[in-house]
Symmetry: C2
Subunit: 401 residues, 2 copies
């Protein structure tokens, strides 16, 4: 027997907010009791077909729901994309041809099916119904919402206050997006937590148009990017694209901080809450090294978008490169006075027993300062800290005072 | 030869504002030089088919323009009228069927052709083009204007500040109204001076859609109503409907103040500025009684909406009734104490020489108090002012203190 309570607990993992949680639970329960599927809407911007890990947060939650009865309706808002801006003022809104929109949609599908179950996903285009709307329908839709309420939307409010122009058409997009929930069968709508206003618009429109059981809403937090500070985005270049090469993906994930790692575990891993908790405890009590936990996360994510095998290869490559450059944790430290000669320093730091041995290492191109080869036998160190290295394994830290 | 300068002077009679006066002058000049007509747009609200004199101010100016080359395009905004309000919140916006709109339009035409030249008037319905617009067109149109600029419109600004809801569809109406000027050939647009924002929108849309020679704009002031204070409107009941009976129309015009009369002359009479000036001077120097000037205005307006003959009859009727009830300007005043007996009062006020004569008048039904017959021989007056009257010609004012 399925444990509904466990599913409900997992449902809430990493989630920002659920509006009408009872409804979501009942949909899952109904699936298990009566085998009935339910329908989850997610909107896609057809102008930017490249997904990154930030997008996959929501995709992962949808994949979870698919395992418990959801049919995902991937809604491609193609109709707005085909609208130009006659003023030419908006740089963000370029007119896209039907062909380009379809092409973008295709790329999108290839990417989302790395996370979603293709068999339980429907791709829809809102032009299907929007193209058939009359002008009177649009005006009717626009009459259901007030200017003041629209200006309460966070970004509109800011722009209005800062006197950054908002075109009136921008007020129509969220309305149309909400209206999509009237045309689709839509039990739940999902999105990032920056989308909450738009998702609520779906409920508003369903209510206005007499749909009794309004859609529930699940919002997901925005994933913090590689810098550990800002939300992941292309423009900040703190992102990992889902189509990035396995080696790059793996290496980038290994570069994040331990703190961010746990956030990513919550939002990106398919491990259960309990498993993540256990892992955390093991790291805390020292039975697992934090780097190992990070490697496992990197392996899991890389495998998702590529394959287990490519993920393993990525790890091996990474280890090979990085073990060469890696500094041991227990380098001995030596203090010398300003102006010390390099040969003397090598001997004092116990990297050679004699001056001539030291000279031989330099001549053999085996001596490095701060991980860069050095051939200068006459060098004198000025004040500062230096990592001296002979070959691959012998290190010393030289502090010149 | 036609005197263009005289026409230009008359053109500006009563006008609030002309935007691009040069263009208007050139259109008239071109008509006289090359016989080419020009096109004037005026919008009509299809929800309220009853015109009053306030509306006729603009109609008169259009009739003037028709005499100098204008083809009037009477635009019936039928498409918006057919849109309901799904929230049911708006009491002002009731959905009208196509049939009712057409019927209203018919009533409207009957009324406007009392002022306009039917041969130089085209009735248009904006559904002709709006019905063919796609949703993408609407969004394109909406993208040409910013929320902030729209909120600068006087009524929107007030409502926004007062937190009175403005539905987003209300932002679409002026845009659509402006777009009408793109679809029509439109050299000039006219309206009340409260419409200036909407008329400028026509220029905006023409500019956006690449029409080189933007429409000129002529705005007319709002006519002050019978109360001499507020603009004429049905809701304030200070109006004269253009379909009102000749007697009512005539009587109502006679009721206005002398000051308002001159304003109405400017806005409603077809007399030239010079003629009005002459009339004014004649009244000033006493060669014409102000009442005569008012009668002439009442005759002119009543004749316009009915006929010369019906206007004359209205005047005769009015004179007959009012000469009976009219009070002379030189009624003598008498003061008496509280509780004075009616018979005694008649004698004291010198309306009879003896008590028995006074009694006889009352019995003969020839005595009135405040222009109402009175038969009560025992009446005692309480504090106040009374007009006592015997027969048609003898009056006295009684002040009871």
């Amino acid at each position: 027997m399925v444990n509904l309570d466990e599913i409900y607990t997992e449902l809430k993992k990493g989630v920002s907010e659920i509006i009408d949680e009872e409804k979501v639970k009942n949909l899952i329960k109904n699936f298990y009791e009566n085998g009935e599927n339910f329908y989850v809407k997610i909107g896609m911007d057809p102008t930017a077909p490249d997904l990154h890990l930030g997008h996959s947060v929501t995709l992962q939650k949808m994949a979870f729901l698919q395992r418990h009865g959801a049919i995902i309706q991937f809604l491609i808002g193609d109709f707005t994309a085909q609208i130009g801006d006659p003023t030419g003022k908006s740089e963000t809104r370029k007119k896209l041809s039907k062909e380009i929109v379809l092409e973008n949609a295709k790329t999108y599908q290839e990417q989302v099916f790395k996370v979603l179950d293709r068999e339980k996903t429907i791709i829809m285009f809102n032009s299907t119904w929007v193209d058939n709307l009359k002008v009177s329908d649009i005006i009717e839709i626009a009459s259901t919402y007030s200017v003041a309420r629209m200006l309460e939307r966070d970004d509109f409010e800011k722009r209005y206050k800062n006197q950054t122009p908002i075109s009136i058409s921008e007020f129509l997009y969220p309305l149309m997006q909400g209206y999509d929930s009237v045309e689709m069968k839509c039990d739940i709508e999902m999105g990032g937590n920056d989308q909450k206003f738009n998702l609520l618009m779906g409920r508003h429109m369903q209510r206005i148009y007499g749909i009794k059981n309004e859609q529930a809403i699940i919002t997901m937090p925005l994933l913090v990017g590689l810098d550990g500070v800002n939300k992941m985005s292309k423009s900040l270049n703190n992102y990992i694209g889902v189509t990035e090469a396995p080696n790059d993906m793996y290496a980038k994930i290994l570069s994040i901080s331990d703190e961010l790692m746990w956030e990513w575990y919550n939002l990106l891993s398919t491990k259960s809450l309990k498993e993540i908790e256990n892992l955390k405890n093991s790291v805390k009590n020292g039975s697992i090294h934090p780097k190992t936990a990070k490697e496992n996360l990197a392996l899991e994510i890389t495998a998702r978008f590529h394959s287990q095998e490519l993920a393993k290869i990525a790890k091996e490559e990474f280890d090979k490169v990085h073990s060469q450059n890696q500094l041991p944790n227990d380098i001995k430290e030596f203090e010398e006075k300003d102006g010390i000669w390099v040969i003397e320093a090598i001997v004092k730091c116990k990297l050679a027993t004699t001056n001539s041995e030291a000279r031989r290492h330099i001549k053999a191109n085996a001596f490095s300062i701060n991980q860069k080869k050095s051939n200068d036998e006459n060098l004198k160190f000025t004040k500062g800290e230096y990592i001296l290295q002979i070959g691959r394994k012998k290190f010393a830290k030289l502090k010149v005072i």
